[in-house]
C-alpha cells in the first residue's frame, strides 16, 4: 500500500551525509529568511501580481538573471569542492569526497552551468533586449514566455532537489552516456533526476525558442527589414533557430532513455539488442549545436559592444551576419568529433574532422570584423570592452586547442583528457560567460536606470582573467601529461598534485572575482544617485533599445518608431526625437497558467523519479485540463488608454527632471572602490548596532 502511494520514496531517501545535510539546511534557511522578509513587509501580493504572474518580458528577464546568478554561485561551489578534492587526493589520501559523490558533483556542475546558468542568462538577455531592439512591445506569445520561464524554474528545482530527497544525482558525467546511465549500471534515482531536470527545462527552452523566432520574424518595427536588424537580435535569431532544430532531439533521446530505465526497453542497454553507441550519437547530435546556441548571442553582444565603444558602426555588417550564419548552418554537421575514439572508419572520422575545420572559418571572419570596427575608432575601455578583450584572449586559446582536437589522430591522444576540459572551458567561460558579463554591464543602465561601478568592475575582470589563467593553464598541461578528466584520486608518482593545487588557487581567485561582482552591484545601488543616467542612453548607442527610458515602461514604446537605417536610434537623434503623442495600447494580462502547468510538469517528473505512478497520471491530466481552460478563454488582453499612457509618461519625465536638477549634470563623486565600500558597510553596521535600529524593522 505504501509502495503504491509513495513509490520508492522511503525514510532513507532523506539526506544523511554531511555535505547534503549542509546543502539542504542552507536552502531551507534561505527560503525561510525570504518568507520572513516578505511577511514582515506584507509583500506577498506584490510578489505574486507584479513578478510571478507577470508576462512582461522585462520582468521575466530580471527573474532569469536572478535565478541564473544564484545557479552560478551554486555551480561555483561545486568547482571549489571538486578542486579541493583533487588538490588533496594524491596517493593514499582520498580527500574529502567519496568517488561516487565526486562524480555526482561534476555531473551536477556540468548540467547547472550549461542549462541553468548560460541558458538562463542568455534567455534573460534575449527576453529583455530583443523586443526593445526590434521596436516591439512584447513577445509574440506572452503565455509561451511565462510558461517557458516557469518550466526552466521547474528544471532548476529538480536539479537541486536531489539534495533534499534521495541524496543522489547522476554519477555519469553531464551527458550521462549509456550504458553507464542505464538501469543496470545506475540503478538509483540519480539518473532519473538528471533526465527529468533536463527534460522539463528542455521543453521550456523549445517553447521559448519558438516564441522568440515568432517575435523576431513577425513583430519588427515598420521599416526594419531583416538586413536592418541589430546584431544582438541576429545572434539571438540564429541561436533560437538552432535551439528549435535540436532541442527536440534532446527531448526524444531523454524520452528513449526514460523508457529504457522505467519500462525496461532495450534502446541503449548492452544486452537485449540495444545499441549504446546510438545514445552517444543522438545525445551529441543535440550536444554540439547546444554549445553554438550559447555562443551565438555572445557573438551578437560582442558585435554591439565593440561598435558602441569604438563609437563606429560595425565594420562590415553583412560579413558579421554571414559569419554567424555560417556557424549556425554547420552546427548540425560536426557532432561526431565528440566520439572520434569510438571506432568509426578513417573516412568518416576524416569527413567530420574536415567539417570541424570549416566551422572555424566563419568564426575567424567575426574576429576580423571586430578588428576592422576598432580600426580608426575612438575606443573607451569601460568594463564591457574589458570583457571583450578578455574574451579575445581566452577564446583564441580555446580556438587553437579546438583545432588541434579537430584532428582525429590528435583527438585519440587528447580525448577525455584535461586538455579537452581546458579547451571547452576556454570557449564556454572565455566566450559565453564573458559575453554575458559584457552584456549585463553594457545594458545594466537600461535595466535599472543607473550604471555599474567601473572601478570594482575592473578589479572583478582582472580577478577573472588571472584566476582563469592560474587554473586552466595547469589544466592544459595536466592534459598533456596524460591526466584524464573526472579523476577523484590519482597516484602520487604521476606528479599531478602541484598542478591541481595551482588550479585550486586559480579557482579561489575566480571566487574572489565573483565576490567582487556582487560587491559591484551592491556598491552601484549605494551610489545610485551619482551613477544615475537620466537620458536612457549612457553609451551614446545606435540601436532602438536606447530610445526608451531606463528602465523602460511596461509598454516599452509609447508609439512604435519608424526605422530608416541600421542605426535606428542614431537616425532618431539626428532627426530630433518626435514630439510625444499617445495612442491606446493593447497589452496582455498577467496569467498564472505558466506557474500551474510548470508545477504540474514538475510533479510529473517527480512522480516518475520516485515511481509514484498515480501522481504522474493525475499531474498529466491536470496539465491537459489547465491547458484546455486557458486555450478556450478569450479575454487575455486589456487596453491602456492614451490618457493613462500620457500620465505615466509625464510622471516619468517629471521624476527624471527632478533627479537631474538635484544632482546636477553628473556629480563629481568618484566611483566607490572596494576599500571605500568596506568602510561604508562597516560604518553602516556600527550605526545599526549602536542606535539599535533593527528594533524598528
Amino acid at each position: 500500500m505504501k509502495e503504491f502511494f509513495l513509490g520508492r520514496l522511503t525514510q532513507d531517501s532523506l539526506p544523511h551525509d554531511w555535505v547534503t545535510v549542509g546543502g539542504t539546511g542552507t536552502f531551507i534557511a534561505m527560503f525561510l529568511f525570504a518568507a520572513l522578509i516578505l511577511t514582515r513587509t506584507k509583500r506577498w501580493k506584490w510578489l505574486w501580481n507584479d513578478w510571478l504572474t507577470s508576462v512582461d518580458p522585462k520582468k521575466i528577464g530580471i527573474m532569469y538573471f536572478l535565478t541564473a546568478a544564484f545557479m552560478l554561485i551554486r555551480g561555483g561551489i561545486d568547482v571549489i569542492l571538486m578542486w579541493v578534492q583533487q588538490a588533496l587526493s594524491s596517493g593514499s589520501s582520498h580527500g574529502i569526497l567519496s568517488a561516487d559523490h565526486y562524480q555526482q558533483i561534476f555531473t551536477a556542475h556540468g548540467n547547472i552551468m550549461v542549462f541553468f546558468v548560460a541558458m538562463g542568462f542568455i534567455f534573460g538577455l534575449i527576453n529583455y533586449i530583443v523586443p526593445l531592439q526590434i521596436g516591439a512591445r512584447d513577445l509574440a506569445s506572452p503565455l509561451l514566455n511565462t510558461l517557458g520561464f516557469w518550466l526552466y524554474i521547474g528544471g532548476v528545482v529538480m536539479v537541486n532537489m536531489f539534495f533534499v530527497l534521495g541524496g543522489q544525482y547522476a554519477a555519469t558525467g553531464w551527458l550521462a552516456v549509456a550504458p553507464l546511465s542505464g538501469i543496470a549500471f545506475s540503478p538509483g534515482t540519480g539518473v532519473d533526476y538528471w533526465i527529468w531536470s533536463l527534460q522539463i527545462s528542455g521543453i521550456g527552452t523549445t517553447l521559448g525558442a519558438i516564441n522568440f523566432i515568432m517575435t523576431i520574424l513577425k513583430m519588427r518595427a515598420p521599416g526594419m527589414t531583416i538586413w536592418k536588424m541589430p546584431l544582438f537580435t541576429w545572434g539571438s535569431l540564429f541561436s533560437m533557430l538552432m535551439a528549435v532544430a535540436v532541442f527536440p532531439l534532446l527531448t526524444a533521446t531523454l524520452f528513449l532513455q526514460f523508457f529504457d530505465r522505467y519500462f525496461g526497453a532495450h534502446f541503449f542497454t548492452a544486452l537485449g539488442g540495444g545499441d549504446p553507441m546510438m545514445y552517444t550519437n543522438l545525445i551529441w547530435m543535440w550536444g554540439h549545436p547546444e554549445v553554438y546556441i550559447l555562443m551565438l548571442p555572445a557573438f551578437g553582444i560582442f558585435s554591439e559592444v565593440v561598435a558602441t565603444f569604438s563609437r563606429k558602426p560595425i565594420a562590415s555588417y553583412t560579413a558579421n551576419v554571414l559569419g554567424m550564419a555560417g556557424v549556425s548552418a554547420l552546427a548540425l554537421s560536426v557532432w561526431l568529433h565528440h566520439f572520434f575514439t569510438m571506432g568509426a572508419s578513417a573516412d568518416v572520422n576524416a569527413f567530420f574532422g574536415l567539417i570541424t575545420l570549416v566551422i572555424a572559418i566563419p568564426t575567424a571572419v567575426l574576429f576580423f570584423t571586430w578588428i576592422a570596427t576598432m580600426h580608426r575608432g575612438l575606443i573607451r575601455f569601460d568594463t564591457p570592452m574589458l570583457w571583450f578583450l578578455g574574451f579575445v584572449t581566452i577564446f583564441t586559446i580555446g580556438g587553437v586547442s579546438g583545432l588541434i582536437l579537430a584532428f582525429p589522430p590528435a583527438d585519440f591522444q587528447l580525448h577525455n583528457s584535461l586538455f579537452l576540459v581546458a579547451h571547452f572551458h576556454s570557449n564556454v567561460i572565455g566566450g559565453v560567460l564573458f559575453g554575458i558579463f559584457a552584456g549585463i554591464s553594457y545594458w545594466f543602465p537600461k535595466f535599472t536606470g543607473f550604471r555599474l561601478n567601473e572601478r570594482i568592475g575592473r578589479n572583478a575582470f582582472w580577478c577573472w582573467i588571472i584566476g582563469f589563467c592560474l587554473s586552466f593553464v595547469p589544466m592544459y598541461i595536466l592534459g598533456i601529461m596524460g591526466a584524464t578528466r573526472r579523476l577523484d584520486h590519482y597516484d602520487a608518482q604521476t606528479g599531478y598534485q602541484p598542478f591541481f593545487i595551482l588550479m585550486l588557487i586559480g579557482g579561489l581567485v575566480i571566487a574572489v572575482g565573483v565576490g567582487l561582482q556582487i560587491i559591484q552591484i551592491v556598491a552601484s545601488i549605494i551610489q545610485k544617485g551619482n551613477l544615475r543616467d537620466a537620458t536612457g542612453d549612457p553609451w551614446n548607442g545606435r540601436t532602438l533599445e536606447w530610445a526608451t527610458a531606463s528602465p523602460p515602461a511596461f509598454y516599452n514604446f509609447t508609439v512604435i518608431p519608424h526605422v530608416i537605417t541600421r542605426d535606428a536610434f542614431l537616425d532618431m537623434k539626428r532627426l530630433g526625437l518626435p514630439e510625444p503623442h499617445y495612442e491606446d495600447i493593447t497589452m496582455p494580462k498577467n496569467t498564472a497558467v505558466g506557474i500551474y502547468i510548470a508545477a504540474l510538469a514538475f510533479l510529473v517528473g517527480f512522480a516518475f523519479v520516485w515511481h509514484i505512478n498515480w501522481l504522474a497520471v493525475v499531474a498529466m491530466i491536470g496539465i491537459i485540463i489547465v491547458f484546455v481552460i486557458r486555450a478556450f478563454n478569450e479575454d487575455s488582453e486589456y487596453v491602456v488608454t492614451a490618457e493613462e499612457v500620457k500620465s505615466i509618461e509625464e510622471a516619468r519625465i517629471a521624476a527624471t527632471a527632478a533627479i537631474t536638477k538635484k544632482s546636477g549634470a553628473m556629480s563629481e563623486q568618484e566611483d566607490m572602490s572596494v576599500r571605500e565600500f568596506v568602510i561604508y558597510v562597516y560604518d553602516f553596521a556600527i550605526d545599526i548596532i549602536r542606535n539599535k535600529k533593527w528594533k524598528s524593522w
Binding site: 523566432i213 513583430m219 529504457d260 545499441d275
Partner: protein
C-alpha cells in the same frame, strides 16, 4: 482608436506561423524515433522479425482510414470557413470516428503482440517499434481530444472566429500526423517485407 482588424489579423498570422514551427519540432522528435527504428529493427536477439509479426492488410486499412479522415478534416475546415456550423460538425464528426477506428485497430495490433509475448522489454526491435508507433498513436489521441473539445465549444458558443482558427490549427496538426503515418507505414510495415 487602435486598428482592431489589423491587430487581430496580425495575431492570427503569428499564431499560425508559431504553430507551424511547433509542428517542425514535432517532426524532429519523430526523426529521432525513425532513426532509432531504422538502426535497431534488426536487433531481434533471436526473436521474430517484423516480417513474422506484421499483417500488411491491417496496416493498409489503418492507412486508408487515416487518409480519409484527413480528407474529411479538410472538408470540415472548408465548411467552417464558410460559416456552415452543422456541416462543419458533421465533417469533423466523421473525422473523429475514422480517427477512433484507426486507434482501435492499432490497439488491437498492440494487445495481440503483447499477448503473444512480444512486449517492449523483449528486444530492441520491439522497443523501437512500440515507441515509434505508440508515440504516433498518442499524438492521434491528443488530436481526437482536441477535436472533441473544440466541437463541444462550437456547440456551446457557435462558430466564432477564435474557434475557426482553432479548427485551422487542428487540421494542420491532423495533416501533419497523416504525413508521419505515411512514413511509418512505408518504413515499418512495407519496409519489413522489402
Amino acid at each position: 482608436m487602435v486598428n482592431h482588424e489589423a491587430h487581430e489579423a496580425a495575431a492570427d498570422e503569428r499564431v499560425m506561423f508559431g504553430f507551424w514551427v511547433y509542428l517542425m519540432t514535432d517532426l524532429l522528435l519523430f526523426s529521432v524515433l525513425f532513426a532509432s527504428y531504422s538502426v535497431l529493427h534488426g536487433n531481434t536477439v533471436g526473436g521474430p522479425t517484423g516480417r513474422d509479426l506484421f499483417t500488411l492488410p491491417l496496416a493498409l486499412q489503418e492507412t486508408i482510414l487515416l487518409l480519409t479522415s484527413s480528407f474529411t478534416c479538410g472538408l470540415g475546415l472548408l465548411a467552417a470557413r464558410s460559416n456552415k456550423k452543422w456541416q462543419t460538425l458533421i465533417c469533423f464528426g466523421i473525422t473523429f470516428i475514422l480517427g477512433a477506428l484507426f486507434l482501435s485497430l492499432e490497439m488491437k495490433e498492440f494487445t495481440e503482440f503483447i499477448h503473444s509475448g512480444q512486449t517492449l522489454q523483449t528486444n530492441a526491435f520491439l522497443s523501437s517499434f512500440f515507441v515509434l508507433v505508440g508515440t504516433h498513436g498518442l499524438h492521434i489521441t491528443s488530436g481526437l481530444l482536441w477535436m472533441g473539445v473544440t466541437m463541444g465549444y462550437i456547440l456551446k458558443r457557435g462558430l466564432n472566429k477564435a474557434l475557426v482558427r482553432k479548427l485551422a490549427l487542428l487540421s494542420l496538426f491532423w495533416h501533419f500526423l497523416d504525413i508521419v503515418w505515411i512514413f511509418i507505414f512505408t518504413i515499418v510495415y512495407l519496409g519489413a517485407f522489402a
